[in-house]
Amino acid sequence: MNHLEPIFFYAFSLIAVLGSAIVVANKRPVYGVLALTVTMLALSALFVLLKAYFVAVIQVLIYAGAILVLFLFVIMLLGMAAVETSQRQRETKKEALFLETIRILKILLPIAFFTELIILTLAAKDAGIGTRNLVGTVEAIGQALFTDYLLPFELVSGILLIGIFGIVTLTQKEEELSLRGGPNGPTK
């Protein structure tokens, strides 16, 4: 698939750049999250082109599956009207532009997904016999993680644990804090 690589590279680079441009340019965070999903899928396809298969899978699972869903949950929690700050006035004028953006997204998402499926099947056929002999399979990545990069790997788990503590502390409401004798609560 060497002769196909430039086509896929330019296509997915274009999709990634367009997706991130939509994230920055449009006014509605929900559309931004959806456009960022397109960017993540295109980047994952670029990782496949670089034969980093495990990183590509993790990219789809963690970013498209977890992080962006978290963004959508928070936008839902705060409410649509709340997250659209200080642009309410000009909204009616640019309504057509938003609809156009959504129309572009509707085309971009399936294209990114299906082309990625095609590229994955093509890549699976001749994995390891391309120009690059470095292949990021699960086995190779796991071996590197648990031998050369064992200490950073453990430190990352510590950072994730500290993140969990931080979120639990941050999202406690003040009443709960004061019930436990927090800074503003009854201490006796």
Binding site: E5, P6, F9, A16, V17, S20, A21, V23, V24, P29, G32, V33, L36, T39, M40, L43, L46, F47, L49, L50, K51, A52, F54, V55, Q59, I62, Y63, A66, I67, L70, F71, V74, I75, L77, L78, A82, V83, E84, T85, S86, R132, N133, L134, G136, A140, I141, A144, L145, D148, Y149, P152, F153, V156, I159, L160, I162, G163, I167, L170, T171
Partner: protein, 99 residues
């Protein structure tokens, strides 16, 4: 495709993300732009791993993804708290410390 192609793509993505962080006035979109910048860095890491024939770049991009996950979780928690306290997501209005 050579290393330069991937690095140029990564640079364009990073520039777009930096523009979003600096230019937009919505905390949610600023966090999304930070994600774009982290992904641009990831693309550079994987491209260099492929170019230098070393798995280290791919392993470090996994670490970056893990850090990005915890960063987003904490950032969104702070955004929710700020919205509860101040009723806005505009960082220009978040001047409680008068910085």
């Amino acid at each position: 495709m050579t290393l330069n192609h991937y690095l140029i793509t990564s640079g364009i993505l990073f520039a777009i993300g930096a523009f979003g962080v600096l230019g937009r006035r919505n905390v949610i979109i600023i966090l999304l732009s930070i994600e774009i910048m982290l992904n641009a860095a990831n693309l550079s890491f994987v491209a260099f791993a492929s170019h230098l024939n070393d798995l280290g770049g791919q392993v470090i991009s996994l670490f970056v993804i893990a850090i990005a996950a915890s960063e987003v979780a904490i950032g969104l928690a702070i955004a929710v708290i700020l919205f509860r306290e101040q009723g806005t997501l505009d960082p220009e209005k978040m001047n409680l410390m008068k910085g």
